[in-house]
């Protein structure tokens, strides 16, 4: 039994990691995108406020997106231990986590691009106007307002977004994947 488990463990290749990373990454990418869009439209449709309510909703949105996105590595490892093998090395967990983060970044960037291109090209402009109106109501310095307006006006190319998002999401999910290895995986037995 142990011999079977060991040989199964040693045969694992890159392709074995992809299904768990892809399935979990796509689901979490979709969820973070939908949650992000929901709160973005809520922000766009809200009145400018000095009471921090608008900013608070933004904070909830980002907290939700951040937490959901970061937990994907842990879930991907859980999925892998259920579907492929429960015996997992630390490095293998790290690969699963990084791949999952990369998939989330790709899915969310592609979805936001598709949404902004085909469904609501004015969304980012409206969101920027709403954010700036909120900051104005909060008596932010003009230089800060100019910076925000400038950052939205410049936009961001899809490849640049991928270039900066894949490593960031990858590393965060790598760490939660290691926590997943700690919780869900059996450590491989040492053979001498």
């Amino acid at each position: 039994m142990n011999v079977e488990k060991e040989s199964e463990f040693e045969k694992l290749t890159f392709k074995d990691y992809l299904p768990s990373s892809t399935i979990v990454g796509v689901i979490f990418g979709l969820v973070t995108s939908v949650v992000g869009l929901f709160f973005m439209y809520q922000q766009i449709n809200s009145e400018p406020s000095t009471s921090m309510t608008g900013m608070f909703m933004g904070s909830i949105s980002m907290l939700a997106v951040c937490l959901i996105a970061a937990c994907a590595g842990l879930v991907a490892v859980w999925h892998f231990t259920k579907e492929v093998t429960s015996t997992l090395k630390l490095g293998q967990g790290a690969v699963i986590g990084f791949l999952t983060g990369a998939v989330i970044a790709i899915v969310s960037v592609l979805l936001s691009e598709a949404w902004a291109t085909f469904i609501d090209p004015e969304m980012m402009r409206n969101y920027a106007d709403s954010m700036i109106a909120n900051f104005e109501a909060m008596d932010m310095p003009q230089s800060t307002l100019d910076d925000i307006a400038e950052s939205f006006d410049e936009g961001d190319s899809m490849f640049r977004q991928l270039f900066i998002n894949i490593p960031l999401y990858g590393v965060l999910n790598l760490i939660t994947a290691l926590i997943g290895v700690k919780i869900f995986a059996d450590k491989p037995e040492e053979t001498f």
Binding site: M55, T144, D147, S151, V181
Partner: protein
């Protein structure tokens, strides 16, 4: 210690994330929000200037809580070799991580319902506790 390459790679990555999260002020930029450091964290953090620290008069690329999480992750990760040398029978940090998460939620809700007002410093400390426990929750996996 096992998986030294993985440990070193993650340590470098966390150091870079912490440096980038400090925003344009560290990199001689005129602003953070139009800078690549601001763009990097735009999808992860609300980047509210009222809830952020400033470096060289420019707001950081993340708010104080997120900065605390990144700082805690790096600090905890740096201490992993020390904890490996210790003689702990069980790793308590997974439970402490759960506690840190619960405290975050309580702090967030308490602030929302006006029971208290959290500050940049309190958010930094709580974020740091979360990151610290997250890193150290896996320290025993590096035992060779």
């Amino acid at each position: 210690m096992s998986d030294k390459l993985l440990y070193s790679g993650v340590w470098v990555a966390l150091l870079l994330i912490l440096l980038f999260s400090m925003g344009g002020g560290v990199w001689g930029a005129e602003s953070t929000l139009g800078h690549w450091t601001g763009d990097m964290f735009r999808n992860l953090c609300h980047q509210d200037p009222n809830r952020s620290f400033f470096v060289n008069n420019l707001q950081m690329a993340v708010n104080s809580r997120c900065f605390g999480v990144f700082a805690g992750l790096l600090f905890g990760w740096t201490l992993i070799p020390l904890f490996l040398k210790g003689k702990f029978k069980k790793n308590p940090f997974l439970w402490l991580l759960l506690l840190a998460l619960i405290i975050q939620i309580i702090d967030y809700m308490g602030n929302h319902y006006g029971m208290w007002i959290n500050t940049n410093e309190s958010r930094l400390i709580l974020g740091c506790f979360l990151g610290f426990t997250a890193s150290l929750s896996v320290y025993d996996l590096f035992k060779s």
